[in-house]
Symmetry: D2
Subunit: 164 residues, 4 copies
């Protein structure tokens, strides 16, 4: 992997607690902090596209993501995204054929003491580096091709779309 | 990946602080806690082979690792290991041809508030799942074939053996 | 301090992230986990009275707190509480004259990697042990008598009511 | 408390993991980071006197601590210290009569994800603020007068010297 381009779109992984509002809201991406802590030995660029819960993403937002990913010059792309419509955004990006595009996120904010975010980012970056071109969702220690995955809300994890 | 077999051998990733000794020593593997926190959706088995700093590993210990990995029925294997002689153990395992074997570890104990361990485990598991059979070292966000990697102590990271 | 009775009422200190709701809500009190981690050497009892943001506390809730604190047999009481109306609840409790009652809470949930909660709990417990009977708010490393304190939202900290 | 002077002397609370040495050693004091995280509302000054395991402290080191504490102009003093000889240093300082001096430390390094350090610092600062002049050890949620306390290594906590 010569270079990884990371696009942050918001979602739980980016959430920060705002005392003034008494609620968690999407904040700055923790990706840069996570990658510095891991002392990674590859080149990367981080672009913040939007700061939204994924239920609030519009078709226009997905167009913006599509265009940004298409236009970037990296062959390896990581998109951090809310989990509720991650599968949808994955579908939208399937028309991009010449890049390895991995979507990931977290069920628990990266800033929590106990979180799946850091594991997921490590896992997703290996997938971005090793998978052949295409669009994939990397969650819960598994890689799913876009269009063949869904979030099982009750179980709190992603499963193959074909699973009962 | 139908099943991942994880072998813990010790190293910094497993270190725990013992007040009675006023020092950090190798403790129980944190892998199970990390995988539960990540709520992973694949089957795994965790075997503790030894609890040693990797500078203390003997040829006999490497024979033990070789035999345990050869004998296990999983096609995907993750070995957690101290970083100082990880490259050596990787070389020793190259004769095993039919499994995807990934060695990983950490520069900072997994139990620290700031650590590379959780990222590395996530990254290494994706590599274990996606790489073709062979022996690899997954550290610092990169995958190196065994025999082509060294630890650059001054930089605190792994680099290709060919790098200056 | 022969015994400390802790009453949890909710607030930011208790917040947990619920993926299903995409928001933080008041969860179980982290006090027991914090006290076990600190390996404290005094006797304590923890009672959960309610699980509310403090802006949602009613006069009836404050009556409940008043009665529970009055009725308990401990001379030292710690109340964990949301910060927005902590000063009000402190005022309500001033009629209890024979106990040392300390209110504390946090601006950032205890479950965050970076939080003021654990410091505040340690600080408040020393105050509960050492102050003469009365009602106090212990926040930001200071102890304020009830009725003489307010939350400065802009600064994100508690200050003496007399401060500009 | 108009001002708190903090003296760091080393000990477990300050320990950092050094990969190059494969061991934990005393590093920079985490006190400043802990107090910023707690957003404390009092004035403080932090002086690093030495960076030693407390078993390595000499009579000369204790003289240095004695002189630094005596000479400082704050009426409230916090000393962070290794736990093994904290009681001894407390005894040495008893001749200072006009300040409230609290010694604290930790059984687990502050930089661990699970540690008693942050609770202890919060607790000790309240004790420094509220106790009458004298020398005290604040550990495990209790305040002990110097000369009346010992570390129970087997139990991993401080107890009154008179306890069996």
């Amino acid at each position: 992997m010569t270079k990884l381009h990371i696009f942050a779109t918001g979602g739980t992984i980016d959430k920060v607690y705002f005392d003034a509002l008494s609620e968690f809201q999407v904040g700055e991406s923790p990706l840069d902090a996570i990658l510095r802590e891991a002392n990674v030995g590859f080149e990367y660029e981080l672009t913040s596209l939007m700061k939204k819960d994924s239920l609030e993403l519009t078709d226009g937002d997905r167009d913006t993501i599509f265009e940004a990913v298409s236009a970037c010059d990296a062959a390896h792309v990581l998109i951090t995204h809310g989990t509720d419509t991650m599968a949808q955004t994955g579908e939208r990006l399937r028309a991009i054929k010449d890049k390895t595009i991995i979507l990931t996120g977290a069920m628990q904010p990266a800033r929590l003491r106990s979180t799946d975010a850091i594991f997921n980012v490590g896992f997703a970056i290996a997938a971005a580096s090793l998978q052949s071109p295409g669009v994939y969702i990397a969650m819960n220690g598994r890689v799913f091709p876009a269009g063949q995955v869904r979030k099982d809300r009750a179980a709190g994890r992603f499963v193959a779309a074909s699973d009962a």
